[in-house]
């Protein structure tokens, strides 16, 4: 009996996927570099956040037909938001303005952040930029963009016949 057979089910399955140990090592290394470089996209954002400027948090969801992009923009005016859509990129730009009504005010807490922001979201499938819809309610921006016909067609299902 091989030692492998004594391992729990999960461990066996992992080894079966990338049978050669060097292959799995290479895969792991690739992953390390991928994650590292991906980190650069995120780092400036985190960095500027530390300096007290505003950058919205974004969720992206998809199904077969469309993408839904949601951004938290509390306190931003509708007229200060600018959404542009190209074939595979959605850009949300805007400014969260600090209210200026009260002249001499002393701050006790200042946890909220202000400033202009720009987030570009690359999407993995082609989209129909002309059919994008955006709604803004209670500080949450909702963008719906249908996927293009060609993007939908990419995943054509092949039926399997039994012989």
């Amino acid at each position: 009996m091989k030692i492998k057979n004594l391992l729990p089910e999960v461990a066996r399955r992992v080894r079966a996927d990338n049978d050669h140990p060097f292959y799995s090592l290479q895969k792991e290394m690739n992953g390390v570099f991928d994650n590292f470089f991906r980190g650069f996209d995120v780092a400036p954002r985190g960095f500027t956040k530390g300096l007290g400027t505003f950058s919205p948090s974004i969720d992206v969801k998809e199904n077969d037909k469309e993408f839904i992009i949601r951004a938290e923009l509390p306190g931003v005016e509708e007229k200060d938001i600018d959404v542009t859509v190209t074939n595979d990129l959605v850009t949300i730009r805007g400014e969260k303005k600090e209210e200026k009504e009260d002249k001499d005010k002393n701050y006790y807490y200042m946890e909220r952040t202000y400033g202009s922001f720009c987030r570009a979201i690359p999407l993995e499938a082609e989209i129909e930029s002309g059919k994008a819809e955006a709604r803004f309610k209670n500080g949450i921006l909702d963008i719906k963009i249908p996927k293009s016909q060609s993007a939908k067609a990419k995943g054509t299902k092949v039926s399997i016949e039994t012989v």
Binding site: G39, V42, A43, R45, G46, K49, P56, S57, I58, D59, V60, K61, E62, N63, F67, I68, R70, E72, L73, P74, G75, V76, E77, E78, D102, D104, K105, N106, Y107, Y108, Y109, M110, E111, R112, T113, I121, E124, F136, K137, N138, G139, I140
Partner: protein, 130 residues
Amino acid sequence: MSDKDLQKTENVAVTEKIRNVKTFIPRVDIYETKEALFLIADMPGVDEATVDVELEKNILKISGRVENGKVKDYNLVLSEYDVGDYERTFTLSDEIDRDKIRATVKQGVLRLELPKAEKVKPKKIAINAA
């Protein structure tokens, strides 16, 4: 490297929840003018129907529920924030005129105006030439 929830901090201290959602501590600004204290809280997703402001003794509690925050039957591609309720409490001093507290909600931002009581407002004393 996850910078999720930098805008929102989860409140882990909330006791015994009935709703099965996370609770966040909203970020607030508090500033003082001659007339009043202002408290401004970022609570994206709430409106005037789902936000609550309670004052009991000298504890001011602001809370908000986020309804329909979840989108079903979609795959998550990128997630930078969680959807959940908001809750935060503050202790007020006696210097606030409790009957005149006003609250407004606009675009997910709660704004509370806490007017100072007459007795603590700064007064200028006129000086007469003798």
